[in-house]
C-alpha cells in the first residue's frame, strides 16, 4: 500500500479485515474492498474504457486526490498512482483510448492526467467548482466537456487554454452524462437539457423535469442498437425517472419509480426518503444500478420494470458507483455524502470502495 502515503495500510484485498467485530456493518455484502481507499469521502468513480487491457479504477475524493488502482481478475486491487488537486475532486472520466484521465475539482479547474507519464496539467478553468467532466469523441472532433456551478458548460480542446465553446446553463450544473451523440445535463432548480453532439455540441431540447425534487444524478441508456435513447434521472427524493427522448408513447414509456426509502409499508413510522446518489447502466444488459444515501444499492430492470436486487444496508451512504467496461465489475463507494449535514460527519470513519461481481445479478428479467 503506501503508494498513497497517508493512509495506514488497509491490507490486501479480500474481505474486510475489519470484519471481525460483529457489529461492524461497513461491508454487509462481503464485497471486495479496494485497498488504500481515499481518506475522505469519495465523490466519483470511473472504470477504464475497453481500449485498455485490464481494468483500472479511478476515484476522486474530497481529500483532493485522485487515485488509480489496477483491478485484477482475481479481485486484487493494486494502487497505481495518485494525483492531487487543490480542492475536492467532484468528477472523473477517461479518454476513449484509456491513456488520459480527466478530473474536475472544486478548485475551479479540470486537469488532464496522462497516466503514462504520470503528469497532470490543467486544461480547463471555470468561475466556480467544476462538477462534471466528460470526454467527447466525435468523428470530427474530440473535446472535454465540463459542467460547473458557474452555470456554464464548456468544451475544451486540451491543447488550448480557451474553451472551444461555452454554453450557458439555466442554473448550476449538478450532473451530466455523455454517450455520443447525446449529452444530458441536469441542473439546479430541476433544469434538464439534452444536447446533441454531432458536428458541434448544441442544445437539443430543454425538458420539463419528470421529478419534483432536486436532481442529483443522471445516466444515459442505450437501445437495442446501442444508440443512446434516453436517460435515467435520480433526485434527492428517492426517485428515479426513466425518460426516453423520443418515445412512441411518452405517457406510457416514461415512468418514475421510487427507491432508497425505508419502512415502506410500516405506516406507524415515518418513511425516510433518501437521495439517489448515483445511477449506472450495465454496459451489456442495459439494466441499471442505483445507489443511495441510505447505504444500499439496487439493481433494476427498466424494461421489465422490476427490481432485481437490493443490497443490505451499509453503515454509510453510498456516494458513487460505476460499472467496468464489460459489466463484470460493479464498484460502489461507501462514504458520507453529507445527507444529514455536518453533524453526522465523522472524519475518522473510513471510506471504502467495494467491488462486486455484476455479471449475473444484473441479467434482465424476462418480461412478465
Amino acid at each position: 500500500m503506501s503508494l498513497f502515503g497517508t493512509t495506514s495500510g488497509f491490507g490486501t484485498s479480500g474481505t474486510s479485515m475489519f470484519g471481525s467485530t460483529s457489529t461492524d456493518n461497513h461491508n454487509p455484502m462481503k464485497d471486495i474492498e479496494v485497498t488504500s481507499s481515499p481518506d475522505d469521502s469519495i465523490g466519483c468513480l470511473s472504470f477504464s474504457p475497453p481500449t485498455l487491457p485490464g481494468n483500472f479504477l479511478i476515484a476522486g475524493s474530497w481529500a483532493n486526490d485522485v487515485r488509480c488502482w489496477e483491478v485484477q481478475d482475481s479481485g486484487q486491487t493494486i494502487p497505481k498512482a495518485q494525483q492531487m488537486h487543490t480542492g475536492p475532486v467532484l468528477g472523473v472520466c477517461w479518454s476513449d483510448d484509456g491513456s488520459k484521465v480527466f478530473t474536475a475539482s472544486c478548485d475551479k479547474t479540470a486537469k488532464m492526467w496522462d497516466l503514462n507519464s504520470n503528469q497532470a496539467i490543467q486544461i480547463a478553468q471555470h468561475d466556480a467548482p467544476v462538477k462534471t467532466i466528460h470526454w467527447i469523441k466525435a468523428p470530427n472532433y474530440s473535446c472535454v466537456m465540463t459542467g460547473s456551478w458557474d452555470k456554464t458548460l464548456k468544451f475544451w480542446d486540451t491543447r488550448s487554454s480557451n474553451p472551444m465553446m461555452v454554453l450557458q446553463l439555466p442554473e448550476r450544473c449538478y450532473c451530466a452524462d455523455v454517450i455520443y451523440p447525446m449529452a444530458v445535463v441536469a441542473t439546479a432548480e430541476r433544469g434538464l437539457i439534452v444536447y446533441q453532439l454531432e458536428n458541434q455540441p448544441s442544445e437539443f431540447r430543454r425538458i420539463e423535469s419528470p421529478l419534483k425534487h432536486q436532481h442529483r444524478c443522471v445516466a444515459i441508456f442505450r437501445d437495442k442498437q446501442n444508440k443512446p435513447t434516453g436517460f435515467a434521472l435520480g433526485s434527492i427524493e428517492g426517485r428515479v425517472a426513466i425518460h426516453y427522448i423520443s418515445p412512441p408513447n411518452p405517457a406510457k414509456d416514461n415512468f418514475t419509480f421510487k427507491c432508497h426509502r425505508s419502512n415502506g409499508t410500516n405506516t406507524s413510522a415515518p418513511q425516510d426518503i433518501y437521495a439517489v446518489n448515483g445511477i449506472a447502466f450495465h454496459p451489456v444488459h442495459g439494466t441499471l444500478a442505483t445507489v443511495g444515501s441510505d447505504g444500499r444499492f439496487s439493481f433494476w430492470d427498466k424494461d421489465a420494470r422490476t427490481k432485481l436486487k437490493t443490497s443490505e444496508q451499509l453503515d454509510q451512504p453510498i456516494a458513487a458507483c460505476c460499472f467496468n467496461h464489460n459489466g463484470n465489475i460493479f464498484a460502489y463507494a461507501s462514504s458520507y455524502d453529507w445527507s444529514k449535514g455536518h453533524e453526522f460527519y465523522n472524519p475518522q470513519k473510513k471510506n471504502y470502495i467495494f467491488l462486486r461481481n455484476a455479471a449475473e445479478e444484473l441479467k434482465p428479467r424476462n418480461k412478465k
Binding site: 497517508t6 434527492i236 427524493e237 419502512n263 425516510d272
Partner: protein, 514 residues
C-alpha cells in the same frame, strides 16, 4: 363556477363541504377522513357504522364525525357519498354556489357598495329562513339558537367593519361576520347552543377577543368576502365590541348569525374548514383526484404496481416500497410539493433543497483551502487550517473559522511523537521541520493536534510528503472541546525539534513550511 345545479353535477362532501369531481372519490374521501376509526384506522362506510364499530370493538362512544365542520358532525345521519344528504343542506349548497358565481361576476364588474347592499338585502331575506341550516358550515351556530338575527342583523353589520381592523388575522373585507364565526364554529355545538337569545351586541364584542381564533377563518374568508368592507352603516358596531370580552365563544355565533344575513355570499367562505377544504381541493390533485396533500396516502398506496417488487434480497421493506412505480410521468408532473410537507409519514433525508449536498459541503472552510490561499490547512481537516495560515505568531488567528474542536485526522503516519504528559517533544522527520522566524509563503501547512491525555496524535496533512526545509511552529494549546488558546512555542535552533511545556492540554501545532 358558472354552472347551476352544481350539487347535481359535482359531488361534495356534506361533512366538510369539499368538492370532488367524482362520487367515487368523494366516497373514498369520506371513508378516509370521516368514517375512519381513530383507534384502529379501520375505514367504515357510514357515520353510524363508525359509531357502532367503535362501540363494539373498542368500547368507545363517538359523538361527532371526525374532521367534520361544526354543524355537520352528526354521527347519526347516514350519509354515503351524495346519498343521505338532507334536502335543506342540498338547497343551501346550491344557493351558496349560485351566490358564489354571482359574486365572482360582480367582483369583476365593480366593487360597489351599493351593489353589495342590494345583494345583501336580497340575500338577507334568503338567509334568515335558514338559521338552522349551517350554511357552509359556519351557519350552524346561527342555526341553533334560532337567533332572531333578522332584527338584530342590521345593527350588527355596521359594527363589523370597525372590528375588522381589530382582528388582524381576518382579512380585510371579511365582513364582521367572520370574526365571530370561527370561534363559534370551532367549538361546534357547545357554543351554538349557548347562544340562544344572546344580545346581539354582546356577540360583536366577543368578536374582538376571538382574534386569535379567527385566523383559521382566514383561508375560508377571502372567497366570499369582497364587498362587505365598503358597507356603510357598519360603524355602529364598534360600540358593540367594547361590550363584552369574555364568553366570547358563545357570543360570536350570535353576531355572526345576524351578520351573515346581510352578506350572504360571505358566509360561505367564512367557514374555516370549508375554506380549507376548498383550498385543499384546489390544491394539488393526483391522477385519481385525491388531493395530493395526502401524499402519504399516495405513497403508501402505490398507484399501480407497474414495478412489481421483484426482490430477492432480504430487505423486503425497502423492496416493497421501492418496487412501486408511479404512473406515467404525466401524472407525476401534476404533483407539486415536496414530501417534506406531507411529513406525517415521510421524511426527506436531505438538509436543504436549495443547494446540492456537494455545494453544501464545499462551503465548509476546510474544503476551501485551495489555490488562492497558500499554506492553508490540508483539506482533510478541521478548522485549524486557517489558523495556521501564514501568520505565525498571531494568537488571534485560531478564532477564525469558528474553531471547532479539533477532529482527529485519520491515517496519519507517525511524524510526531508524544513524549510525555508534561512536555511534548515533537520530533519531526527530516521532512518536517519547525523553525525559522521568517515566514515565506508556505505552500502548505500541517497541523497536528495532540491530545495529551490520550497520547494520541491527531494529525492532518494534505501533501504530507513535502515540507522542504525550515519553517516554524506555532503551538496552540487549548481544551479538548473549546477553541485552542495560543501559546507560542519555543522553537529551538537545532532544526529538528520543538518542544513546549504544556501540561494536559491538547495542542494544536501548526507547522509552516517555507
Amino acid at each position: 363556477m358558472g354552472r347551476k345545479k352544481k350539487k347535481q353535477l359535482k359531488p361534495w362532501c356534506w361533512y366538510c363541504n369539499r368538492d370532488f369531481d367524482d362520487e367515487k372519490i368523494l366516497i373514498q374521501h369520506q371513508k378516509a377522513k370521516h368514517f375512519k376509526c381513530h383507534i384502529c384506522h379501520k375505514k367504515l362506510y357510514t357515520g353510524p357504522g363508525l359509531a357502532i364499530h367503535c362501540m363494539q370493538v373498542h368500547k368507545e362512544t363517538i359523538d361527532a364525525v371526525p374532521n367534520a365542520i361544526p354543524g355537520r358532525t352528526d354521527i347519526e345521519l347516514e350519509i354515503y357519498g351524495m346519498e343521505g344528504i338532507p334536502e335543506k343542506d342540498m338547497d343551501e349548497r346550491r344557493r351558496l354556489l349560485e351566490q358564489k358565481t354571482q359574486e365572482s361576476q360582480k367582483k369583476k364588474q365593480q366593487d360597489d357598495s351599493d351593489e353589495y347592499d342590494d345583494d345583501d338585502s336580497a340575500a338577507s331575506t334568503s338567509f334568515q329562513p335558514q338559521p338552522v341550516q349551517p350554511q357552509q358550515g359556519y351557519i350552524p351556530p346561527m342555526a341553533q339558537p334560532g337567533l332572531p338575527p333578522v332584527p338584530g342583523a342590521p345593527g350588527m353589520p355596521p359594527g363589523i367593519p370597525p372590528l375588522m381592523p381589530g382582528v388582524p388575522p381576518l382579512m380585510p373585507g371579511m365582513p364582521p361576520v367572520m370574526p365571530g364565526m370561527p370561534p363559534g364554529l370551532h367549538h361546534q355545538r357547545k357554543y351554538t347552543q349557548s347562544f340562544c337569545g344572546e344580545n346581539i351586541m354582546m356577540p360583536m364584542g366577543g368578536m374582538m377577543p376571538p382574534g386569535p381564533g379567527i385566523p383559521p377563518l382566514m383561508p375560508g374568508m377571502p372567497p366570499g368576502m369582497p364587498p362587505p368592507v365598503p358597507r356603510p352603516g357598519i360603524p355602529p358596531m364598534t360600540q358593540a365590541q367594547a361590550v363584552s370580552a369574555p364568553g366570547i365563544l358563545n357570543r360570536p355565533p350570535a353576531p355572526t348569525a345576524t351578520v351573515p344575513a346581510p352578506q350572504p355570499p360571505v358566509t360561505k367562505p367564512l367557514f374555516p374548514s370549508a375554506g380549507q377544504a376548498q383550498a385543499a381541493v384546489q390544491g394539488p390533485v393526483g391522477t385519481d383526484f385525491k388531493p395530493l396533500n395526502s401524499t402519504p396516502a399516495t405513497t403508501t398506496e402505490p398507484p399501480k404496481p407497474t414495478f412489481p417488487a421483484y426482490t430477492q434480497s432480504t430487505a423486503s421493506t425497502t423492496s416493497t416500497t421501492n418496487s412501486t412505480a408511479a404512473k406515467p410521468a404525466a401524472s407525476i408532473t401534476s404533483k407539486p410539493a415536496t414530501l417534506t410537507t406531507t411529513s406525517a409519514t415521510s421524511k426527506l433525508i436531505h438538509p436543504d433543497e436549495d443547494i446540492s449536498l456537494e455545494e453544501r459541503r464545499a462551503q465548509l472552510p476546510k474544503y476551501q483551502r485551495n489555490l488562492p490561499r497558500p499554506g492553508q490547512a490540508p483539506i482533510g481537516n478541521p478548522p485549524v487550517g486557517p489558523i495556521g495560515g501564514m501568520m505565525p505568531p498571531q494568537p488571534g488567528i485560531p478564532q477564525q473559522q469558528g474553531m471547532r474542536p479539533p477532529m482527529p485526522p485519520h491515517g496519519i503516519s507517525s511524524y510526531v511523537y508524544l513524549v510525555d504528559f508534561l512536555s511534548i517533544h515533537i520530533n519531526l522527520s527530516a521532512k518536517y521541520i519547525a523553525f525559522k522566524s521568517t515566514v515565506h509563503r508556505p505552500t502548505q501547512s500541517i497541523f497536528c493536534v495532540l491530545n495529551v491525555f490520550c497520547r494520541s496524535v491527531w494529525w492532518s496533512s494534505s501533501r504530507h510528503a513535502r515540507l522542504p526545509s525550515w519553517c516554524y511552529a506555532t503551538i496552540w494549546a487549548g481544551t479538548a472541546n473549546g477553541a485552542p488558546l495560543p501559546r507560542w512555542a519555543s522553537s529551538t535552533s537545532d532544526g529538528n525539534e520543538t518542544s513546549c511545556n504544556v501540561a494536559r492540554w491538547p495542542l494544536l501545532i501548526l507547522l509552516h513550511p517555507i
